[in-house]
């Protein structure tokens, strides 16, 4: 009997071994939820972008610091009036099915993107409701594509490269069936889309026909050399299970490590930690229409009461640096002007509150526990506000409810995180606008909006930089929110992984990564 039991156990463990064995060719990385679709930019979230940006490539792509550079295009020429963009395609680029990339494929892809029936997320940006309207996509020869747009915009290429637009990845027409229905991505990226078991994993396979750009890895462009045969993104919703899987060797890379785990993982010696500042913005929002907070002196008092540097250090354990500006630290536009801040000064905060006639009215900070850093920021802000005599309270909501309240502008204060936007104009645009028609907007200042409109059109970097500097000054004067810090992407990888490096977009990249 005992022998039979032992034999059964051995059989079971034997059966388990292939599952836990490490394949030298497959890199296993965790994602906390399944991807939504593999149709670029149609129905997406952060995980979808993370996976799909290994498969897709657009005419241009993002660089390490959030600028834009050519990717499938060899060069881009912009006409004097800013209404015509001419892309010259790189030679010898092949799709995952072996077909060569031509200008006709680019035109076909863009026609599909611009067709409302595709439900491409960025259709409104290029279809006339948002950024501009693409009037024509012309193909004078197989290697040249000309985009003609209705009105000039400085953000045409930036938006084209956005990961949430699927990087405007160029597709082969066999990606859809004869009925126009989506089949699967046949693109040009360093990995091709492999097996997808919903709720379990997505596997990408190295594309042998990929031609990388020369040079080193640079954001989503540069030398994208796929060194591993396969990348398997395993869906692991629970952070503790993710950590256990990393420690047991069932996962090679975890890109969403909690800051509290860094010290423990470092101590082990067999786990490498990678820290990369991202362009996400963490902030305390203030509703400028609230009876208490509509007085700018009260908002300034809040800013003086909250020691952003101390709060940042406490929450991120020193992994992030405080940033008072909407322009993220990794951005090439973040200069000295953006380090100007409202200094922590509790005495001045008390004085301002007295001047504003604040009489202890309660001020509620909304937060959630799905994103721990938002909750932590609310707790610390509450304590600091109470120290200067403000009756700060915290209301914890479920994330979807908080997002709903954000959208409606239905809050006094809110601890909030914005996802990465890679051009400062997009950051300012996210927060600025008329509250009467767009209640989610934080900053309603007509002069700032005029400047922002200018930044959307002007292409000259120096002029744009000056506009962003001025906007920061105005932002500090109005204090519609207190920017705390930019997020940090914390990734942990097992000992057999070499070459993993996070970057400002906060998304993983598995080209240039080897397994030993």
């Amino acid at each position: 009997m005992r022998r039979a039991a032992l034999a059964s156990l051995a059989l079971l463990l034997g059966a388990a071994m292939p599952a836990v064995a490490q394949s030298p060719a497959t890199l296993r990385a965790a994602i906390n939820a399944d991807i939504r679709t593999n149709d670029p930019g149609v129905n997406r979230d952060g995980n979808t972008d993370a996976v799909m940006m290994h498969v897709l490539e657009g005419l241009v792509g993002l660089t390490e610091d959030g600028d834009v550079g050519p990717l499938l295009a060899e060069r881009v020429a912009v006409s004097e009036d800013g209404r015509s963009y001419t892309f010259t395609l790189r030679e010898g680029i092949r799709f995952h099915n072996g077909a060569e990339l031509t200008s006709a494929d680019v035109a076909w892809t863009w026609r599909r993107f611009l067709d409302p029936a595709t439900k491409w997320r960025c259709q409104s940006e290029f279809g006339g409701k948002g950024l501009t309207r693409i009037e024509a996509v012309e193909t004078p020869d197989p290697r040249t594509v000309v985009f003609r747009i209705e009105k000039p915009t400085a953000l045409f290429l930036s938006v084209m490269a956005r990961p949430d637009c699927g990087g405007s990845g160029i597709l082969h027409r066999d990606s859809v069936g004869p009925d126009g229905k989506w089949k699967g991505p046949i693109a040009t990226g360093p990995f091709r889309f492999g097996e997808w078991k919903r709720g379990e994993f997505v596997e990408l396979e190295r594309f042998a026909g990929y031609r990388p750009l020369p040079g080193a890895r640079d954001g989503y462009i540069g030398g994208k050399r796929a060194e591993v045969e396969r990348v398997r993104f395993v869906v692991v919703p629970d952070p503790s299970a993710m950590k256990a899987a990393l420690l047991s060797g069932s996962l090679d890379v975890v890109t969403d490590v909690a800051v509290d785990d860094i010290a423990e993982l470092k101590r082990r010696g067999d786990i490498a930690i990678d820290l990369a500042p991202t362009m996400g913005v963490n902030a305390i929002l203030m509703q400028t229409r609230d009876p208490v907070l509509q007085d700018v002196r009260v908002r300034r008092a809040v800013a003086h009461a909250i020691d952003a540097a101390e709060l940042t250090t406490a929450i991120t354990q020193g992994t992030a640096r405080p940033n008072p500006s909407i322009v993220p630290v990794p951005s090439s536009y973040h200069g000295a002007a953006h380090d100007r801040r409202i200094a922590a000064d509790p005495a001045l905060a008390r004085k301002l509150l007295a001047e504003a006639g604040y009489r202890g009215q309660p001020v509620k900070i909304l937060a959630n526990k799905r994103y721990g850093s938002m909750y932590d920021a609310a707790v610390l802000a509450q304590a600091m506000l109470q120290q200067v005599g403000m009756a700060a309270e915290i209301e914890v909501l479920e994330w979807a409810t908080q997002l709903d309240r954000y959208l409606k502008g239905d809050y006094q204060m809110m601890s909030f995180s914005y996802s990465a936007r890679l051009d400062p104009a997009l950051n300012y645009e996210m927060m600025s606008g008329p509250k009467a028609t767009q209640p989610r907007k934080i900053w309603d200042n007509p002069d700032a909006l005029k400047l922002l409109d200018e930044a959307m059109v002007v292409a000259d970097r120096k002029r744009r930089g000056a506009i962003f500097d001025r906007l920061h000054e105005m932002f500090l004067a109005d204090v519609p929110m207190l920017v705390l810090y930019n997020g940090v992407d914390i990734a942990a990888s097992g000992k057999r992984v070499k070459g993993y490096k996070g970057w400002a977009a906060g998304q993983p990249r598995f080209w240039g990564v080897t397994l030993q």
């Binding site: 388990a16 503790s240 709903d404």
Partner: protein, 314 residues
């Protein structure tokens, strides 16, 4: 008997309808916009409005309900908002995973807990009884996620015997499938042992106090036979009800265990659906769960006479 079954099955219709209305209304009362969640904070007013139109969320709520109910009556639970897949096959697919774990765990828990409970009752107030009751109480008190994580750390990380993440179906590879579900089944079994043991113990104590047991003992019937032949059939009936309730309850979702062990089960589908305000998925899951619950309880009731002949299905 057949009439009884048909009557009970017909009774599921108003239950399902009530569940459908309650779920639909409650879900719409919860703040949170699926379109906003899908598009995230980068959405513009135009894209939000367009997505709401595409998802039919711009229609009046009573119209949305009637449209959904009409489809449900035709066996169509709609399509998921998040991934555009038909909801019914999605639920059935996920239910297979959950059902495998749950049925195995409940059967194992019953095999262990019923004899343990009877033993404790037979030796009431003895050290053995104390150990069994303490063990059952401990199992009842341990949160499933914590036990699951301990199991993961011990068998997955420390000993490296079993895989920590992933899932393989039996159709794909039975051996590997077994390796992946051992820990979730063990976790659920341990958790459920507590309830069943306590129920079996209480029911057996009750029965052992009855006169016919005293009579049997007075006649000199051996203790083993008294327990097995006379006490068990009567003590098992109430325990069977509890087992049925547990089964129905667990089949509705073991989201915590599925999340810890990364199993693509029904519970995780439901929780993900709630977070994403994926109305069709949440409505479908809850409706399916309610029907499963009713059916499991019907099955329990039908089997009741097998254990207690005094009870008839009618």
């Amino acid at each position: 008997m057949l009439r009884y079954i048909i009557r009970r099955l017909l009774m599921t219709v108003p239950t399902a309808l009530l569940v459908a209305i309650a779920v639909f209304v409650l879900l719409r009362l919860v703040p949170g916009d699926p379109a906003q969640l899908m598009l995230g904070d980068t959405a513009t007013e135009e894209t939000l409005a367009e997505l709401r139109r595409q998802l039919g969320l711009d229609q009046p709520i009573p119209l949305q309900f009637l449209y959904w109910l009409g489809n449900v009556l035709r066996g169509d639970l709609g399509r998921s908002i998040t991934n555009d897949l038909p909801v019914l096959p999605l639920i059935v697919d996920r239910f297979r995973v959950s059902a495998t774990i749950v049925v195995a765990a409940v059967v194992l828990a019953s095999i262990i807990a019923v004899p343990a409970g009877m033993l404790a009752a037979w030796r009431q107030n003895s050290p053995g009884d104390l150990v069994i009751v303490a063990g059952a109480t401990l199992m009842l008190s341990i949160p499933s996620f914590w036990l699951g994580l301990l199991m993961l750390l011990l068998f997955g990380v420390k000993l490296g015997w079993l895989p920590v993440v992933g899932y393989v179906s039996f159709a794909e590879d039975p051996g590997r499938a077994l390796a992946y579900i051992v820990l979730p089944i063990a976790t659920l079994t341990l958790i459920e042992i507590g309830v069943v043991t306590r129920m079996a113990r209480a029911a057996t104590i009750e029965v052992l106090r009855l006169e016919y047991i005293t009579h049997a003992r007075a006649k000199g019937v051996p203790e083993g036979r008294v327990l097995w032949r006379h006490a068990l059939p009567n003590a098992f009936a109430p325990t069977w009800t509890v087992i049925g309730l547990i089964l129905g309850n667990l089949l509705g979702g073991i989201a915590v265990v599925e999340t810890v062990f990364t199993l693509p089960g029904l519970g995780r589908l439901l929780v993900d659906g709630i977070f994403a305000r994926d109305y069709p998925v949440v409505q479908g899951c809850l409706l399916f769960t309610a029907i499963m619950y009713v059916l499991v309880n019907l099955l329990v009731d039908l089997l009741y006479p097998v254990f207690d002949p005094r009870v008839t299905a009618e």
